[in-house]
């Protein structure tokens, strides 16, 4: 049985092939050899046989260097798919008008024989969450208070991805300032889940997840304060990585909760996410909390992984967090996770249950700390400062009325609620009972993770207790929406890296709804997570995480 799991798929070969029109859940029966003999298609669609995703980034680079496709052609194909799907999805708040220009520049470079000097992200279409600043595009944070605001600088992560050849396609939708788990909290639009247009993509990086899932871009930047990259990755069936706190500079990320915020990556394969992370990581002198830890070369890591080995993860200790499979977790999710555990065991992992006693304390502690910090971070949106030129400023005779009017009309209800909660928690007389206790809980959580990771290489859990909600389902029930963050917030409190990889489906929609498996590692051990995630993803049978919207789209899969 194991031999069938490890069909000869080597990343170094990356056959460019046309995906079949089969429905995503059904694995393609076509053999690798027959398809790889096909002439190069107009689009380098990265999808290896059997449904395991290949790296789009590496495929694009090979195609560009071989001359089989130009960056402009690539850009046009992504843009046309974007235009086709965007009316249904609303992933983007703003789409760049200089994509083709950037692509042309790359083609010019190749034409001049500068192909060798191409950056690792050359020609790669990148979606950027709209709370990450871009100098040439509006950056609103999903808030009306920053409508039309154009920052005078690029965020460090954006600057780095551009330097490496990445092309920013546009700014993706989010819950206002990252506060929400459905992207319904955006001040501008509601984004749909490509797997079921009646469902939410998760949040707050819902636009980034939906755009990657629908192949509107190759990879995207998200931000993760309490699970905002991982939960939408799970809901949309894509790979999401929340790096260690400090791994990626926060400079240019509109602060929600500064001690928890991390810029993360979303992609359709673990390899893409790893290569993308490598491009944006590293110390930044503009962020005092960014780490000086060395950034490993994740790309060479993937090349070195031998997918033919029978038990590639032999002896790896995996701790399944007991508290994450308690009541309140959908049975479909549970069974998908159980299947994933079996799969990991087949790969050679030793899976044991571990208990994190402080796990359930994470949610209240998170909401106190995040709200407290947000009440402070959002003070700058006062209707008086420069941002007011673009966003909301009410006309008033009196200063306090100006503040109140601008903030009342500029912020949405979720943001107002969190500012109120945070202001309350920090107020004299309540600080010790709330903020200080939450910090103590944070220390406990950090210690319990450390203990668990001393005896285990990684910890695993579902990425969310359920699959994607129906639109409006949680809108009037904030507590139940907050409860959906139970799987992810603890990781932010501990500052650890976590990778979400799609692992299965639950019945729902036209073709099932994806479930994500969360893998948590020790601080700055992204490399280990990526290696395990890559092996898991490449060997997973019977699942293909291309949403029906795209699987039916002729520009993506031609027959």
């Amino acid at each position: 049985m194991l031999s069938t799991l490890h069909s000869p798929r080597s990343l170094s070969r990356f056959p460019l092939h046309l995906t079949s029109s089969v429905k995503p859940r059904a694995a393609s029966a076509s053999s690798a050899s027959s398809l790889s003999d096909y002439p190069p298609p107009p689009l380098p669609v990265a999808q290896s046989p059997g449904g395991a995703p290949a790296s789009q980034i590496l495929t694009i680079r090979r195609s560009l260097l071989s001359g089989s496709v130009t960056a402009t052609q690539l850009a046009e194909s992504y843009l046309s798919r974007l235009r086709l799907t965007e009316p249904q999805l609303n992933s983007f708040i703003h789409v760049s008008d200089s994509v083709l220009k950037s692509a042309q520049e790359i083609d010019d470079k190749i034409a001049k024989g500068g192909g060798e000097a191409l950056g690792p992200l050359a020609g790669v279409m990148v979606g950027v969450k709209d709370n990450i600043c871009t100098a040439d595009m509006p950056s609103t944070g999903g808030s009306r208070i920053l409508e039309n605001y154009r920052p005078p600088f690029d965020a460090t992560a954006v600057k780095r991805l551009k330097e490496k050849g990445g092309i920013v396609v546009g700014k993706t939708n989010l819950d206002e300032f990252g506060m929400g788990s459905t992207t319904e909290g955006s001040g501008f639009q509601v984004t749909a889940n490509p797997w079921d247009l009646g469902r939410v993509p998760g949040g707050s990086s819902g636009g980034s997840a939906s755009a990657v899932s629908a192949r509107q871009c190759v990879v995207s930047l998200g931000s993760d304060t309490g699970g905002s990259v991982r939960q939408p990755a799970s809901f949309c069936g894509v790979v999401g990585l929340k790096p260690t706190y400090g791994r990626v500079s926060r400079f240019g990320l509109m602060a929600y909760a500064s001690s928890l915020d991390v810029i993360g990556c979303l992609g359709t394969s673990v390899a893409d996410v790893g290569i993308f992370l490598n491009a944006i990581s590293g110390h930044d002198k503009f962020d005092a909390t960014s780490s000086k830890q060395e950034v490993p070369d994740f790309e060479s890591l993937f090349a070195s992984i031998n997918l033919l080995e029978s038990k590639p993860l032999s002896g790896l200790k995996v701790g399944l967090i007991r508290e994450t499979l308690d009541d309140g977790v959908d049975s479909g999710v549970k069974s998908a996770i159980n299947a994933a555990v079996l799969h990991m065991q087949e790969l050679g992992c030793i899976v044991n249950e571990v208990s994190l006693p402080s796990f359930s304390l994470g949610l209240p502690a998170y909401y106190i700390l995040a709200s407290s910090e947000s009440s402070s971070n959002l003070s700058r949106y006062d209707g008086v400062s420069l941002m007011s030129r673009y966003g909301k400023q009410t006309v008033s005779d009196e200063l306090n009325a100006l503040y109140a009017g601008s903030r009342a009309s500029g912020f949405g209800p979720e943001v107002k609620m969190r500012i109120l909660m945070g202001t309350y928690a920090l107020s004299a007389g309540y600080y010790d009972a709330y903020y200080k206790r939450a910090q103590q809980v944070r220390t406990l959580i950090r210690e319990s993770f450390k203990t668990a990771l001393d005896t285990n290489d990684i910890l695993i859990s579902p990425a969310a207790p359920s699959v994607a909600y129906k639109m409006g389902e949680k809108k009037n029930d904030p507590l139940s929406m907050y409860a959906g963050d139970i799987m992810t917030v603890n990781v932010n409190l501990a500052g650890l890296p976590a990778l979400v990889v799609p692992c299965g489906f639950v019945e729902g929609g036209s073709s099932g709804l994806p479930v994500g498996l969360q893998m948590i590692g020790a601080a700055f051990h992204e490399e280990k997570l990526l290696k395990i995630g890559h092996l898991f993803e490449q060997t997973l049978q019977g699942c293909r995480f291309v949403p029906p919207l795209v699987a039916d789209d002729p520009t993506w899969s031609r027959t």
Binding site: A135, P151, P152, A288, S379, V384, S385, M387, S396, E398
Partner: protein, 640 residues
Amino acid sequence: MRRTVTAVVPALLGYFILSGLNCCRHLCLVPIASLKLFNSATGVWWRVIDFVNMASTLFRNVIQAQPLFLNSSALLRRKNGVLYCTMKSTSHSHTQTATEEKQQQKSPQKIKVPPQKQMKEVSKIGADYEAVIGIETHVQLSTLTKAFCSCPYSYGAQPNTCICPVCMGLPGALPVLNSKVIECAVKLALALNCRLSFSSKFDRKQYFYPDLPKGYQISQFDIPIATGGSIDLDLPLEFGGGHRRFGITRIHMEEDAGKLMHSGNGSYSQVDLNRAGVPLLEIVSEPDMRTGIEASEYAAELQRVVRYLGVSNGNMQEGSLRCDVNVSVRPIGQAEFGTKVEIKNLNSFSAINRAIDFEISRQVNLHSQGQQDSIVQETRLWEEEGKWMVFFENTTATDPIPFLVQKTVTMRKKEGLADYRYFPEPDLPEVVLTKAYMDSVGKSLPELPEAKRRRYEEMGLSMQDVLFLANDIAVADFFDATIQKGADVKLAANWIMGDIAAYLKNEKLSIIDIKLVPHELAELIASIKSGTISGKIGKEILFELLAKGGTVKGLIEEKDLVQASYCFSRSFLHRITDLGDIEKMVDKVIAENPKQLEQYRSGKTKLQGYFAGQVMKASKGKANPGILNKVLVEKLNAKV
């Protein structure tokens, strides 16, 4: 230090300029006056706010307070000793800055106060009540760049030209601590004998105000960088002198806010963010001071210390050194403090002194009338400009006596209710200091004012001289360099405090601006002492050196040459010290005055002066008087 901090962020500024923001251009091109209320086209960087109502809230109490003093009841109250009138302008110490002295000169001498009233007031305070004074001082650090970004700051720059996304609080911008701020804090902490925290942190102090772009100030709350120090000072002699030591509660680092500029008619305000993010050290004193003069001398000593250390220019007019004073009064013998009142807007040392004394009088008066409950915890503003008032002494008096009424007025009440919702700043790591770092900074400290004063005192200088010389580090350095070259201590002090100080004052120069170097002053003093030149000629040379520079030797020779070309013969400047020359002259004079010689020898010895005068005349004033007299007495008394 564990943490690394950067001070230079040039790329950021580059972005900013190169990005060619329209608003950025507005900054430079749009004159202030053309900006109108809610002009959304230009009012972005210049935030435009209507302040009409706000101003009236802010200053309502001011407006209400004034009539009180203008009507007759105010006069009555004045007679009870409430009204405080300044007369202390003559009593400023020479520790004050030149600019301040100027300001005081502006206050006309019209200020008069019936002296007996003052006496009564003072004695009342002394006998029954005691004032307790504590001071919070903000010192603006003269680092090249701001506390958390790479913007340079220069006082008086065009509005909003020293700004970047970080100090403007743009979304996504993050603070990065300038390591020089820590160095300055450690220097001052060591100079004020404080305990340094090996690990301290930054906190956010939150409040809404248009000059605070982030909506919070980065400050230090419960763990400041330094605690528990002291400062030593000597009170000026005109205030009775004496040495004082006042406690320092804490020193912490924080950032400054921007500045609001209110339009002439009060219909709108503009924000200049140049000052936003400039590093400050806040120094909180123990409530150890008891009088206005002690408080103002505390502030003056703090100014000296920061100037000696080079961490700040300490200039009060520019706001580089700002003092907020807390004053309370309690009956003598009472252990607990009275209700404290904070006074702001103190722009000079004399304002500190006068405002406190006014406030003490006000509070003592309320106490003595049994109205101590009407002293509430509040912030009061010192009205430096004051108001000229005329009143008639007694009802029968005919001479109007003009008064400058300077007073404190309520700015805002209910101080205790402000909730700044401090919490640890998550964007900045802890500030960790190592013993080695503290030691290395400690070793780099210069000699501080207190040590300098004690050393000068030991040299035998009078306290007046000591205070003058140690007041300004540039003067002290000049003095030290002069005596280093072997100059007589007292003479060097006299020259510096006398002619040089007068020259500096007339020319409005600082001692570092003059061409005279300490070495030449030492040379000059030595030349006079040795008798090479006279004191009178020394003075001439001094002024030459002050204005044009050069050397004492060179000037003497130069003058010699000049004289020679006119008079052919004798040196003008050189004292004739050659014994033979003087003997010849004495012989000649004696020979020419046989009559006087006879009288002298017959007992009229007073005639020695006549002979000396004649010799001096013959030498054109250049004979060394010591040698001359010696030779003269010898010759006159010679037995023939």
